[in-house]
């Protein structure tokens, strides 16, 4: 029994030592391989002060390969190419021809290791095609598969930085104060002509490219909060200011009769509207649905739903603000904006009412929608279910929809109120309605006619103004 106790003690000591060694070890280095067949990552080992990698592991995903150790010799066959290595030598025979390379070939068991620096010489002869090794950043490009990119500042206010890539990319995006980081772990992105790009913009002054440990990174430096949106099937990334940043920048210039910085006390508001949350910057959030790649309905050859909704949103903002209702338009240009982001903006602002705008060629007049809530998903403690966040505010939304429908009827516009499975209405925590505007008659051109847009939006604005007390008092 004493022997067992001693053995157990020794094993325990060894386990503790291994744990201490592993916790203190440097992070494992990897070589990222990009090829037409696959993109993959392989561990690197340090031998004789150099980075080494298993040659068989590199070739296995690319095609038919096998290797055999015979004493100090190691023979590899890739399709018809035969390569003969000898352990400790810095030469090998490829199809019988002598080839020298930096460093030495190492044989560890049956595993043949070659220096990363030797790949530039060995792989083109084995694979029969171009190979590029970025040794410092541990990246290996097999074939002409590099993805290039350009970055330019798009005209407009606020400015947008547009990255165009030669192939779809899928970076992970992270933000921290003063920068937005795009990390390309699986994309064969290569450096632009200069690693530092400057744009002459105060909001987004520059971007830098770097690569290391198998990853390419683009860091966008900004002086305002920014976000990234993807379009063009992943070949375009647009960096733009967040709605919050836009709002902060635009607020002083917004022509509104409301008291500065206070949506709680618009010029015409009665004193009873003091229950409005203090952190509400805008009373109404108007959402021009669709945008960017999401065109919505193709209303005619020259008319897209996403364009009509922007025009309607501008008209509605004008009507609301002329009545003292502070208004934020969520999508002011042809940009991609996910439905979740739209809901986040509206909820973060604690807007009294969220109005989503749609346009349609079918039907006549206007449909006013409230959320058709999905099944289940109950709130948990203080956390509200995202799918049914609208639940508590649904009666208020229905009341607002009825008020809007009443005003539209007064203007002889055919109108219906319906529930609809239309996101993000169900994700909005406050009052939320959706409008689907169709022409009154058969002429689709009416949708883009300013007088019809003004007729519809003035009715909506009048109804919202009339319900201001009720909406503004909501938590």
């Amino acid at each position: 029994m004493a022997t067992i106790a001693v053995l157990a003690f020794v094993v325990a000591i060894l386990v503790v030592l291994c744990a201490m060694l592993s916790s203190g070890a440097a992070p494992e280095k990897h070589l990222t391989v990009y090829s037409v067949a696959a993109n993959y990552s392989l561990p690197l080992v340090q031998r004789e002060g150099r980075d080494y990698v298993g040659l068989l592991e590199i070739l296995e995903p690319l095609g038919k390969v096998n290797a055999r150790a015979d004493g100090s010799r190691w023979r590899l066959r890739y399709y018809r190419e035969e390569v003969d290595f000898q352990s400790g030598k810095s030469q090998c025979r490829i199809q019988g021809r002598q080839t020298a390379f930096p460093g030495k070939f190492l044989l560890e068991g049956d595993r043949g290791l070659v220096p990363v620096a030797a790949l530039n010489l060995l792989l083109p002869k084995i694979l029969g095609g171009p190979v590029s090794v970025h040794e410092d950043s541990e990246r290996l490009f097999i074939g002409n598969i590099a993805t290039h990119f350009t970055a330019s500042l798009a005209a407009g206010n606020p400015p947008r930085l547009v990255f165009n890539f030669t192939a779809p990319v899928n970076p992970s995006v992270s933000t921290e104060p003063g920068s937005l980081r795009l990390a390309f772990t699986r994309d064969p992105l290569v450096a632009p002509a200069s690693p530092t790009l400057t744009f002459g913009s105060k909001a987004i002054p520059s971007a830098t490219y770097s690569e290391g440990n198998g990853i390419a990174v683009v860091v966008v430096n900004s002086n305002v909060p920014v976000m990234a949106s993807f379009s063009n099937d992943g070949k375009t990334i647009t960096i733009s200011q967040t709605a919050q940043a836009v709002a902060q920048g635009a607020a002083p210039a917004t022509p509104t009769p409301a008291a500065p910085g206070s949506a709680a006390a618009p010029a015409q508001a009665p004193a009873s509207s003091g229950a409005t949350p203090a952190n509400r910057r805008y009373f109404a959030v108007v959402d021009a649905s669709h945008g960017g790649d999401d065109r919505g309905e193709t209303l005619s050859n020259s008319l897209l739903e996403k364009d009509v909704t922007v025009a309607l949103a501008h008209a509605l903002r004008q009507e609301l603000e002329s009545r003292g209702i502070t208004t934020l338009v969520l999508r002011d240009s042809d940009a991609n904006l996910a439905v979740d982001q739209r809901a986040v903006f509206a909820n973060a602002d604690h807007a009294a009412i969220y109005i989503a705008l749609h346009a349609s060629s079918s039907g006549h007049g206007v449909r006013v929608y409230t959320a058709l809530l999905p099944f289940g998903d109950e709130d948990r403690g203080p956390f509200r279910s995202w799918a049914t966040a609208q639940h508590a505010a649904l009666p208020l939304s229905q009341s607002a929809a009825t008020a809007v429908a009443g005003e539209l009827q007064k203007r002889q516009i055919p109108v219906r109120t319906l529930a609809a499975p239309l996101r993000p209405l169900n994700n909005i925590a406050g009052a939320a309605i959706g409008l689907e505007v169709s022409p009154v008659g058969a002429d689709l051109a009416q949708l883009s006619a300013p007088d019809y847009q003004q007729l519809v939006t003035s009715a909506v604005a009048t109804a919202v103004t009339a319900a201001r007390d009720q909406l503004g008092a909501a938590p």
Partner: protein, 209 residues
């Protein structure tokens, strides 16, 4: 004095020997069981590629059912009685209902046109009270875009199934067996539909409402 070398008996406790023997026996048993299972699987015919119909085509006595048919002209759902041959299985009945409904939409005089090639792939009824309607990609890809026009399709499918198949509480719509965000840019397909809420919507969509 003997010339025999001194032999030290190896000191392995009896209970460790027994434990090792038991574990070895268990490993051998499990290995042989795994080999047998593997042979059973590889030896059985591959059913995934079996395209033979699982059930014979529906025939026999017809039954009266109510279909809720979308009409684009007035943006409403019309309750229409139909006599169709119905199989006995609950799931097959639901599939037959929706196939009949779809054949109306694919007709040249359809009141609510769907794109050609639109099909109901299958309907799954999962107890308790859960239904999954799987449509093909042509159904969604060729569907017209718009809140009302998409909502009419969704309400028509769900209300027809739920009214004729008691007990269903929630319905999910898949496209080619996969979840999709929307039908054609508007109607949400990412969540389960609440049948009670859809019944209320169907009431709102009655003609003349």
């Amino acid at each position: 004095m003997s010339d025999d070398p001194i032999r030290v008996a190896p000191y392995i406790p009896r209970h460790l020997v027994i434990a090792f023997a038991v574990m070895l026996a268990a490993a051998i048993t499990l290995f042989s069981y795994a080999v047998r299972m593997r042979n059973d699987v590889t030896g059985s015919p591959v059913t995934a590629n079996d395209t033979r119909p699982l059930a014979p085509p529906v025939a026999g006595p017809t039954e009266s059912v109510t279909l809720f048919v979308a009409h684009d002209e007035d943006g409403s759902l019309h309750a229409e009685a139909a006599q169709i041959p119905m199989p006995s299985g609950r799931q097959q009945r639901a599939e037959e209902l929706l196939s009949t409904l779809l054949s109306m939409y694919l007709d040249k005089n359809s009141p609510h046109v769907l794109g050609s090639g639109a099909e109901i792939r299958s309907v799954f009824l999962i107890d308790p009270g859960e239904a999954v309607i799987d449509v093909n990609s042509a159904f969604a890809d060729t569907h017209r875009s718009g809140v009302l026009v998409e909502e009419l399709t969704v309400a028509s499918l769900i209300h027809t199934v739920s009214v004729n198949t008691p007990g269903i509480q929630k319905v999910k719509i898949l496209v080619d067996g996969k979840e999709r965000d929307t039908l054609a840019g508007h109607a949400d397909l990412s969540s389960f539909y609440d049948v009670t809420a859809v019944n209320q919507l169907a009431a709102q969509l009655q003609p003349g409402q």
